[in-house]
Structures are given as structure tokens and as C-alpha cells.
């Protein structure tokens, strides 16, 4: 953890540690600011919350949202739930596999794009759906996905 990261974590701990059940809001705040949860932050968090390191790591590992590694430059969350499966969502997954060599979950070879499966983005009436760098896209066709990926390569991104 860099000194800047440590200062950020300590600042967030001061504003969250006293709130009842404040651990999840704290973890979200750290991840929002740093992009991930540095493992070296765990002892600081444990001490501020008066809980063991094992407990903090247990919480971090339980939730799909929390990551202990820095994310790729772009994050694509593809919905793999039933409604999207029924509308061609699996074809989009196959397209990512074929074009970028990305399995269901992972980072592209150039380290630019991280793929994460999600189960429902609430856009089921306009399936299939995905979220690219926090922005929701629905009625996604293979063409649309290609354009979105192309947009990322342009440097500007569709975000």
C-alpha cells in the first residue's frame, strides 16, 4: 500500500468506524476511492473496527463486489441470468470468448478489459444487458457489443 493509499484508508476509517454496522459502507468507500481493497489495509480496518483480521477478510471474500487486486482499466459486467440467457446473452459471452479470449470471468490479454459475470441488472424487459464502466446498456446485440469494445480501443471509451 502506498502512503497515499494508507492516508486515504485512515481518513475513511475516521468517518465510518463509529457507524453501526459500518464495515460494508467502509469497504465500499475504500474500493470506490482506490479501485480495490489493498490487503495491507485489512489490519488497519480490523483495528479500527475492533475485529480480527480473519473476520475482515471473511467479509471481503464473501461478497462478489469486493476485489483485492487492482481492476483492469475497463470493467464489463455481463448479465448471465435467465432473462438475458433467453434473449441472446450467452451469445454475447461467446463473442467475448472468441474475440478477446475471455472466459466467463477474467482479464483480457492486454490487461485492458476485466469481465465479470453478474446475475441481473434489472433490465430484464430489455434483455440482454451489460454494464460497461458503470454505464448500463440494454437490448445489446452482437453489433452493439462490437461497437462498445471498439469505443474502448479508441481511448475515449463508451463511458
Amino acid at each position: 500500500m502506498t502512503p497515499e493509499q494508507q492516508t486515504a484508508v485512515e481518513g475513511l476509517l475516521r468517518s465510518h468506524a463509529a457507524a453501526p454496522g459500518g464495515l460494508l459502507p467502509l469497504l465500499h468507500a475504500v474500493q470506490d476511492q482506490l479501485g480495490y481493497l489493498p490487503p495491507a489495509a485489512v489490519p488497519l480496518i480490523a483495528s479500527a473496527f475492533n475485529r480480527t483480521r480473519a473476520e475482515i477478510e471473511g467479509v471481503i471474500s464473501f461478497y462478489h463486489d469486493f476485489h483485492t487486486e487492482p481492476p483492469a482499466r475497463h470493467t464489463l459486467r455481463l448479465c448471465r441470468a435467465e432473462a438475458c440467457q433467453c434473449m441472446g446473452g450467452e451469445a454475447l459471452a461467446a463473442q467475448l470468448r472468441d474475440s478477446l479470449g475471455l472466459p466467463d470471468e477474467g482479464v483480457s490479454a492486454d490487461g485492458e478489459l476485466g469481465l465479470i459475470p453478474v446475475y441481473c441488472l434489472g433490465a430484464c424487459a430489455c434483455a440482454p444487458a451489460l454494464e460497461l464502466d458503470g454505464r448500463l446498456h440494454a437490448r445489446v446485440t452482437p453489433d452493439k457489443l462490437r461497437q462498445l469494445l471498439q469505443g474502448l480501443k479508441g481511448g475515449e471509451g463508451a463511458c
Binding site: 454496522g21 460494508l24 465500499h28 471473511g58 461478497y63 453478474v118 434489472g122 433490465a123 424487459a125
Partner: protein, 519 residues
Amino acid sequence: MLTVYIPMDSVACAVGADDVAQRFAEEAARRGMALDIRRTSSRGLFWLEPLVEVDTPHGRAGFRTVTPEDVSGLLAIDMAAVRDHLLSIGLVDELPYLKSQQRLLFARAGLTRPLSLDDYLAAGGYQGLEKAAAMSGDDIVANVLDSGLRGRGGAAFPAGIKWRTVRQAGADSKYVVCNADEGDSGSFADRMLMEGDPFLLLEGMTIAGLAVGATRGYIYVRSEYAPAIAVLRQAIVIAREHGYLGDNVAHGGHDFDIEVREGAGAYICGEETSLLESLEGKRGTVRAKPPLPALQGLFGQPTLVHNVLSLASVPLILARGAAWYRNFGMGRSLGTMAFQLAGNVRRGGLVERAFGLTLRELVLDYGGGTASGRPLKAVQLGGPLGAWIPPSLLDTPLDYEALAAIGAMLGHGGAVLADDTVDMGRMARFAMRFCAIESCGKCTPCRIGSTRGVEVIDRLLAAGNAEEKSRQHALLDDLCLTMQHGSLCALGGMTPFPVQSALKYFPADFGLTSQENAQ
């Protein structure tokens, strides 16, 4: 001045509503034209989104699936000849899909601006709270009991009984917790309501707080719903500024405030005890019941836990009366239900109707069948733990008891349509896989059964001869029975429903003949 209405709902924006609104602003500026662009909630007619509406002397007229390229043409048309436009759908309120609905919860959908308190008040908002503030807690609870309201999250437990239990529990502090962890595929009613009519949920929670004697409420929203979280947080600030939250709420002498908490991508946190653990800052593992959350819930205190739509039903019950609410529905399923049409459906959207319409009316009359135009193969009702229902059972009425009789459930009211290209063997495998990914790990049937379930289904699908098929089939039945009866909560307990319904109605997808299946 011309007024155009464009939804700010996140799914409308995901298909281009923001871009359309921006183009309207640019075009109007370019022409030096006075244009009032109002960003409203969504009507829930998602196949028409982005749906742009304009005022006409007869009501609001709509234009369907508008793109930025259409905007210039729309600004040029003569308002008297709106109907002649290629994208015109006529008067929106006259659409049969909408006109035949009984919109109580979603009465304001598409009409008001989500964060305009004035819009909310003008459309009847906070009348329920004004009444409740002048009543005793016992009287409020009696109203909810009389209304016959049952929890809309899936379990359909009578709400009033829960309220009475929390009210009568002696404790220094009590809580109202809103379960907004709407994780079921095919469901989006909670999302629509939180994004589109946030004050309604705040009002319902506040009434609940006054009724049970709680001073603090939490809304636990799944992290996938970032726009809903943002809207709710802004609405809370506005409600506080106007005396609808905080000290001495609505001058009734009680304090109540609400905080939004963000989930972290765990489906299991939609289970109420797991949600409470998560709110306490722990792993979202399921608690054994008893003790009931109503007696020992959040931080060990009496806690009223309800789904979004249950709480949002309360203001109307208080404002219009329990007897009025009971006029809707049938049998023991009273009030209205927000059904959601999703997946491979021609007209996906929100259908709020009194209980009692049939699945056929929902799926074919409203939904219009599959979007692909291919034959309908099955409908999964109630999310990933719901049964796959074949077309032969479409005449089942959509109420809690009738669905239970065919081994299905309403759950949160989402219906996912699948056409004949969908392989039910794969969907059964997915059900087990999903359970394995999302299991909290506390009980063995769910934690291990789901992983073994994927393996058994793989072996069943791969089996080369009838003897092996039959052996794996028997093993799967046995495993499903164990999960159903031995799991601690509905995740492990109901994952067998999509699996067994797929086996029962679509044996061919497993390489079984119906005769083998019956054995």
C-alpha cells in the same frame, strides 16, 4: 411552450433516453425554441422505450423507441396531427396494455418527476402519513391487518401480524428494514419504484416506523442498482428538509429517519436474516429462525423487515382505507400485484393488476408471446428459484394459493419467457450452478448439494444408455428432496423447483422419455 416528457429510468437510459433528451435540448436551442423537457419516471412499457410523450388537448400522446435522429422530425410536426407520425402510439393512457391495468402502487409511473416533492404531493403523496401521524400505533397496525396485505417479497406472510409482533415487542430501540435486494432475474418492479417514486417508499417506511415504534429505518439496496441508491439518498435529504423525516415527523410527535445501505453483490442477502447480518457488517450468512427478526432482528432488536412493494402499499392503505384496498384481489390474495414481463417477450414491462388474472392473460395478452416469434416453451415465474411452467398450464390464476397447487410460486412477480430454442437441461444445470455461486455456505444441503447437483445433471445429460440415465435421474431426485427439506432457507430449499419442473415437463431435453420420467 411545448413540454416533452422523457423517462430518466435507468433502463430507458440504457436504450438511449438520455441521448434523446440531450438532442431535444440541442435542437430546441438551435431553433431558438422554448422547450420544457421533463424527465419523469418510466411508465413501465419497456418495449416502447425510449418513450417520448407530449401534451395534446386530449392527453399525453406518445412516440415509441425514439432515437436522437428522430428528434428533429418530431419537433417539426404539427401537434394537431401527432397521430400521423410514424412513431406515434396515440394517447398513452388509451393503450390497452396500460388502460386495463389497476395501477395503485405505480399510479404515478411515467407521470411525475422522481425527485419533485411537489409532483408527489400534487398526486396524493404523503396523505397516508398525515393520517397516520394523527393515529395511535395500534390503530395503524389495525388498518394494515384489516387490509389483508401480504408481504410482496415472495413469502406472502400477512403483513399486519408482523407489524403487531414488532409493535408489542418491548425494547429500547426498534428498526424498520426495507429489503431492496431485488436479485431475481425477471424482476424490476422494486427498481422502477425506487428510481421513479422514491417518496412513496420513504412514506411507507415512515408510517411503519410510527406504527411499530421504531425511530430508524434502513433501505438495503443491491449494488447493481446504483441509480436507485442515488435517487433514494437525494429523496431522503428532500424529505428531511420538509419535515417528512427526522424529528417530530409530520408533527405527530415521533422521530424517524432513514439511511440507505448498499449491498455488495450477494444474492443471498435478499433473504431477510442474511440481509440483517450484512447490515451489521458481517458475512451475509443465514440465521436460524427462531428467534424471528420481528423479536430479535437488526443488532438483536425487534425489526420489521419488508420488501419495497409491501412498504410502498402502506401509504395507500392509510390514505384510502383498508376496506377500499380489500376490493382488489381474490380469496386471500388481496390488493394488486406488480407483475413483470421479461426475457424473450414481445411487450416486456410492468403489469399491475389485482390478483386473479391468469398466466395466459399476462404472458400472451399483455406480453404478446415471444419476441423472437418462435413458439413459447416455458415461463419461469418468481425468479431463479421458481418453476418453469409449460404452456399447458397457462390457465393457472396468478394468486398465491393457485400457483402453490401446481408446484409454482409467484415470488416477486417476475415472469421470464423462453422460446423453443432454450434447452431446459441447461437451464436446470444453471439453477444448480447459480445456487452454488450464491450459497452462503451455512447449511450442507445448499452448499454441497448445489455443487453435486451440477455434477449429477452433467452426468445425466451425458449418460449414453437408459440404465445410466435412470440411475442419475434417481440420484438427482433424491438430491433435490434433500435440498428441499434440509436447507436452512429458500435458496437451497427452492433451487430444486426449476430443476424438477424442467425434468417433469421437458424430459426430452434430458434425453429422457416421458415414460422413463414418470418412473
